[in-house]
């Protein structure tokens, strides 16, 4: 052992001390030699002898000795830098995860797999795992992604981004042809397509773009000669042309002649596709730089070499691993001239053969300059967001309403998640103040946000479509384009937009795609999102109203912060207006808050969308930023709420859509069932409806239905709505819901009857008598009816009854044909007198004696 040289660092000492501690336990690991760093910043090399006795070995696995001598080159900054692990021998060369013939690649991702605190203990454990797996031939475990072969390249090498899936050789025949490459920038080209040798190769840019499926008319394409072999090349790709050609020849009989001819055909095509702006001299003495183009073309000459090697270990299908050989310019000329060998003119054929010999000589002595390859083809890459809710967006067309603090990050997230097209709609311009939290640049100030954002989206993902709609978003909603998208995200936080959207969607809710509505609290500490799946009875406004009701009526207090933040009982007067003048009032919050909330909310919404369509319901998600103190935030996690669809019926006379909540319908059914059991199957019943009317959206919500008040009168032909307790109940509900739900109208039943108003009903509606004072000037009359089977089914919990609904305007003066003055036949009157009358409420017995006043006479006039 050498003595410390004086260049040891604390890291070296730590590493050595850890190794010594392992060594002290047993002879399983021995420190065989320590070679001091000869200068500052050099590594401390430690040879360790590792016990490998008894490791199971298979014929194709690493052939381990009983012990293996391993060299650890420990950087001075250990454990923050990982030691290199090498062998003195090259017995492991050619195995996966062995680079440079003797460097063992223990970690795929140092960032996640290396634990500085565990230092040498972790490294030795990993080394033993590696050796053991290698001996079993499982360095590439079946089912695991393969470590790609290695082609060593220089840092300044050309960059090739492989976007199109590579072709596979079939029937044991290598694939010969060209890659269609798009020149993206100096030194970078993207492979966007492939053309087999026998296919028609493009002769101009238009054909090339068509072949690659590229619309952009500014795109400049060229071809790169390509061979894809049937057999793997060595794990470490050859570094000399001779070795490469030998490997190609041995594996697939691809001789130097074939390689040069392919180069020649590709070069000839590139002269057509990308002619040089001025003639070049060509020939072996011309420009040596490969990336400046050559041979009468400004296209670089890159030969792609593919060999099986990418994919999943153990699977029969191995996608080609691709490497790119950046060739000097004269290779293009040489390749092209070798084509003369096929000429029918003897002197030209001789020339071609002569050049071929020159080409072979050149290949024999050339070293290979490998291009840098960035993989982006689906064949071999796994998206980093795989198996996340964001995957739902892949290939979707998304309309984002609003390009502000919510919409801009939402649109960006969509495009990153692989949406095929994103349209952003906003009328606003970029102001200096929004740079605080919206993804715009200083240079964008004064430009329409939607335009700037769409341009930014196109830069992120040139292959995806992104466009902008600059103007009032209301028009966007009105212009009926929304149903053409796969998803609408309302990120406007704008009541008008929400209301309009609710109204537009109501009539064609099965045609509309899912709608996500995003909202952020006034201090960006909470966010809420609403998902309205395709066909759901309500959209964002509807769902937010439900959320408001739920937050206000929740007795556990877990949603009080949400109620206060989003649905305050009294309007917030201290509005935040960031700029002087009539700028929009907005919320305070940072980019951290906004991005964090939008991310959470959208992830949640997409998660909900991943469920089967049949299981999707109207859903709200509450997200909270971790910025409140615990005491102020009784509930800090996300909260989900969901609601089944309402029963939707239309009042065609007034043009309103009536949405009966399941809750309200169940209350009506419960009362109808109780009545049928107690009073007889045909005795009518009814009660008060609570809810709200939105005249803008033209929606009537029925939130609750009560039973008949105790002073009501019920019979087989008539239902008379009483007044006892109604006022108190309505007051209580108005208070509980913060005035979101109040008196809406009345319901009654026509058991076994038609869902249409009787003459009496018509008369009643004509001069509606409200059971409450100060009632609204209109009320909803709802009749639940149906023939016997339908009615009985409904009572038993199956299906719905037939409905009749009409919004009745209040008469300011009593009708000249008031009900009590309505003419009735003597038979009717007699019949009425023979009826059994029941009180409302919970009374279990009919009124006795059955001598009621004329029912109609009990109705009050307003």
């Amino acid at each position: 052992m050498s003595t410390p040289s004086g260049h040891r660092t604390a890291g070296h000492e730590l590493a050595l001390a850890q190794l010594r501690r392992i060594e002290a336990v047993s002879g399983a690991l021995r420190v065989a030699a320590v070679r001091e760093p000869s200068a500052e910043h050099e590594t401390l090399a430690v040879d360790i002898s590792v016990d490998c006795a008894g490791m199971q070995t298979v014929p194709l696995g690493l052939q381990l000795r009983r012990r293996e001598l391993i060299t650890l080159s420990i950087p001075g900054q250990f454990p923050f830098f990982v030691p290199a692990v090498t062998t003195r021998h090259r017995r492991f060369a050619g195995f996966p995860h062995v680079q440079w013939g003797n460097q063992l690649c223990l970690y795929r991702s140092v960032a996640t797999e290396w634990y500085p605190a565990d230092g040498m203990f972790g490294l030795i454990t990993r080394l033993v795992d590696w050796l053991q797996a290698g001996a079993r031939g499982e360095l590439d475990t079946p089912g695991e992604p393969l470590h790609p072969p290695v082609a060593y390249q220089r840092a300044d090498a050309d960059l090739l981004v492989i976007r199109a899936d590579a072709p596979q050789p079939c029937d044991g025949v290598p694939w010969l042809g060209v890659a269609l490459a798009r020149q993206v920038a100096a030194g970078r080209a993207d492979v966007v397509g492939w053309l087999e040798f026998a296919a028609a190769w493009p002769t101009n840019q238009a054909e090339a773009r068509a072949a690659a499926g590229i619309d952009d008319e500014d795109a400049e394409l060229f071809v790169a000669p390509t061979v894809i072999t049937t057999r793997p090349l060595p794990f470490e790709y050859p570094r000399t042309a001779r070795d490469l050609v030998t490997a190609l020849d041995e594996g697939d009989q691809l001789s130097a002649r074939v390689v040069l001819a392919l180069i020649g055909f590709a070069s000839r095509t590139n002269r057509d596709l990308l002619p040089a702006s001025k003639p070049t001299s060509g020939g072996p003495d011309s420009d040596e730089e490969p990336d400046t183009g050559s041979d009468g073309s400004k296209a670089p000459l890159v030969m792609l070499v593919g060999a099986p090697g990418r994919g999943i270990a153990g699977s029969a299908e191995m996608a080609p691993h691709l490497a790119g050989w950046s060739m000097p310019g004269f290779a293009a000329t040489m390749g092209r001239l070798t084509l003369h060998q096929f000429s029918s003119r003897d002197e030209l054929a001789d020339l071609g053969r002569e050049v071929l010999e020159m080409g072979k000589d050149w290949l024999d002595g050339a070293s290979i300059r490998w291009a840098r390859i960035n993989e982006a083809r689906p064949q071999t890459t796994v998206r980093r967001d795989t198996q996340t809710p964001a995957m739902w967006l892949a290939g979707q067309h998304v309309l984002v309403l609003g390009a502000g603090a919510l919409g801009a990050p939402a649109a960006e997230m969509c495009i990153r998640a692989g949406a095929a097209h994103v349209t952003v709609a906003d009328k606003g311009l970029v102001h200096p103040g929004i740079l605080v939290r919206q993804p715009y640049d200083d240079a964008d100030i004064g430009s329409p946000k939607a335009d700037v954002l769409a341009a930014r989206l196109r830069r992120i993902h040139p292959d995806a479509g992104a466009d902008s709609l600059v103007g009032d978003i209301a028009n966007t909603v009105l212009d009926a384009r929304a149903p053409l998208y796969d998803l609408v995200i309302d990120a406007t936080a704008d009541r008008v937009v929400r209301s309009l959207l609710e109204q537009r969607r109501a009539g064609e809710r099965h045609a509309w795609p899912p709608v996500i509505t995003l909202m952020i609290g006034h201090r960006a500490t909470n966010g809420i999102a609403a998902l309205s799946p395709r066909g759901a009875s309500g959209a964002g406004m509807d769902i937010l109203r439900r959320l408001a009701l739920a937050a206000h009526t929740d007795t556990t207090g877990t949603m009080s912060d949400i109620a206060e933040d989003f649905f305050p009982a009294t309007a917030r007067t201290a509005l935040f207006q960031p700029e002087p003048g009539c700028s929009d009032a907005t919320f305070t919050g940072s980019a951290f808050d906004v991005t964090g909330l939008v991310g959470q909310l959208l992830t949640g919404m997409l998660h909900a969308l991943q469920r089967p369509a049949s299981e999707q319901t109207m859903t709200a998600l509450v997200a909270r930023m971790p910025t409140f103190t615990i005491a102020a935030a009784p509930q800090t996690g996300p909260q989900w709420l969901s609601w089944p669809n309402d029963i939707v019926i239309d009042d065609h006379t007034a043009g309103y859509q009536i949405r009966i909540s399941l809750n309200a319908m169940n209350e009506m059914r419960t009362e109808a069932r109780r009545g049928a059991r107690l009073r007889g199957p045909r005795v009518e019943t009814g009660g008060t409806l609570l809810g709200a009317i939105d005249d803008a959206a033209r929606v009537i919500w029925i939130d609750e239905a009560t039973g008949p008040p105790p002073d009501s009168l019920l019979s087989e032909l008539h239902f008379q709505h009483g007044t006892a307790g109604v006022s108190a109940h309505l007051t209580a509900r108005r208070k509980a819901t913060s005035h979101r739900s109040g008196f809406l109208g009345m319901w009654h039943t026509h058991p076994h009857g038609p869902a249409s108003p009787s003459p009496t009903d018509e008369a009643g509606m004509a001069s509606l008598v409200l059971p409450v004072h100060d009632g609204p000037p209109r009320a909803l009359i709802l009749i639940a009816a149906g023939p016997a089977p339908t009615w009985q089914d409904w009572l038993n919990g199956v299906g719905t009854p037939h409905w009749y609904a009409r919004l009745v305007e209040r008469q300011l003066t009593p009708s000249p044909q008031a009900p009590h003055e309505s003419p009735r036949s003597p038979e009717t009157l007699r019949h009425l007198q023979q009826l059994t009358w029941w009180p409302g409420g919970y009374a279990a017995h009919p009124l006795s004696p059955p001598t009621p006043t004329h029912p109609a006479q009990t109705r009050r006039t307003p």
Partner: protein, 436 residues
């Protein structure tokens, strides 16, 4: 079971505790013994050892007179662990055709160094043979079998000793090969290449003057097995042997299929002082051993079983040496004291093999071969190796209790890491604190 028959040629390493006793079988008539350790008393280390002389006497081919016949006895050096029992061998009925000795014996005698009785008996026997040879030469004859002797190596003081008068043909020096045994040319079957002792080492420690041989056995089909028998040599000399051979284009003379690990698996082969006198591992000699190893090379430790851990100052066998050899070979180091088990060691038999030169014959195969030899009358072909391999090993004294074997391989390393991390450790005993 005729397939179980062993080849005629091979090597046998006897379980004799920490010492060397190697038998080389050329053919059914020619057996060579290199070093001897035959212990009739209990081994001081409690090892299970073989009574080699008794076994040889039972097994060796016989002369026309009916005497067991050992064609050649080679002594690498005169340490007790290499010549113990030589006196008994002389006193036995066994006829030793020829003896190879080094000049070191005479120097030690002259310098009145400590020589064990068996070494003295050996020296006396060699001296007797020298005289007999001189007499025969004087009579114009070859010495008879039983009187033959060969002096291997050179000593500066040779002029003071009788052997110096022997004709040159009775001498062999490093760099030369021998293929005559007891007056018979065995060049098609056997060749011993002499690597050491070096002239410069003649006055050094006894171990450093060990005879070092590469033995090549060859069968009629041209299969060659190569064994390196390097006595008790240590790093400097072994390094020199490899350096000389490599430098002089004689790499084939250091090639090996079996290496009898020098000095009973001593770490001195690959550990020695650096320029500051601090012990360091000598990777260069390990690399050389690695470079010249055959495709399935075996290292034999002729020693008692390995300890579970070595302490400073422990005698061989050394775990450090075993571990270093294990970096060279994929095959286990074969220790004569524990082959196949510590409780019942068995002679280690290597037979000539087409693929790997020498192949280790496992004990079951030996036993099958023995059954075959009893049930057929083709006894002649493979009788000797089989018989030697199946000789009973006497339990002299008590068998050592089973040494707890440390966990080997990946589990061993993981366990070492676990203990070294220490995160599962707890105080093993109560510890008190206080002001007094």
């Amino acid at each position: 079971m005729i397939e179980a028959a062993l080849p005629a040629s091979g090597l046998v390493f006897w379980p004799v505790g920490t010492g060397d006793s190697t038998t080389i079988v050329l053919d059914e008539k020619t057996v060579v013994q290199v070093d001897l350790r035959d212990m009739k008393q209990a081994d001081e280390e409690g090892a299970v050892v073989a009574a080699v002389i008794d076994r040889l006497e039972e097994t060796l081919p016989v002369t026309a007179d009916g005497d067991p016949y050992l064609a050649l006895f080679v002594l690498t050096h005169a340490d007790l662990d290499h010549c113990c029992g030589f006196g008994d061998l002389l006193d036995s009925p066994i006829l030793i055709g020829e003896i190879w000795a080094t000049p070191r014996l005479w120097r030690e005698l002259a310098e009145e160094g400590a020589m064990c009785d068996d070494a003295r008996r050996f020296q006396e026997e060699v001296e007797r043979r020298v005289q007999a040879t001189l007499k025969a030469v004087e009579d114009g004859m070859e010495p008879a079998s039983g009187n033959r002797v060969r002096i291997i190596g050179y000593d500066e003081d040779r002029d003071q000793h009788s052997y110096a008068q022997l004709p040159d043909s009775y001498f062999t020096f490093p760099g030369e090969a021998i293929s005559m045994i007891d007056g018979v040319d065995v060049s098609g079957r056997f060749e011993a290449f002499v690597h050491a002792p070096f002239k410069n080492d003649c006055a050094g420690d006894r171990n450093d003057t060990s005879l070092a041989l590469q033995v090549q056995l060859r069968d009629p089909d041209g299969i060659v097995g190569r064994a390196l028998l390097l006595g008790d040599l240590a790093y400097p000399t072994i390094k020199q042997i490899f350096d000389f051979s490599e430098a002089n284009g004689r790499a084939d003379r250091v090639a090996w299929d079996v290496l009898l690990s020098p000095h009973h698996c001593s770490k001195k082969v690959m550990y020695g002082p650096d320029e500051n006198g601090v012990e360091e591992r000598k990777q260069d000699v390990l690399d050389q051993l690695d470079r010249h190893a055959g495709p399935a090379a075996y290292v034999v430790a002729s020693s008692r079983p390995f300890r579970d851990a070595d302490k400073s100052g422990d005698n061989p066998p050394h775990l450090l040496a075993r571990d270093a050899y294990e970096e060279i070979t994929a095959l286990p180091i074969v220790c004569t004291g524990s082959h196949p088990t510590v409780e019942a060691p068995h002679p280690v038999v290597f037979a000539l093999d087409r693929d790997c030169g020498f192949a280790l014959v496992d004990v079951e195969e030996l036993q099958e071969s023995k059954v075959a030899s009893l049930s057929t009358d083709r006894a002649g072909v493979w009788r000797l190796l089989t018989a030697l391999g199946n000789t009973a090993v006497t339990v002299v004294g008590t068998a050592p209790s089973t040494i707890p074997q440390q966990t080997r391989g990946a589990d061993g390393v993981r366990e070492a890491v676990r203990q070294a991390r220490g995160d599962e450790a707890a105080p093993a005993e109560a510890i008190g604190f206080g002001t007094e």
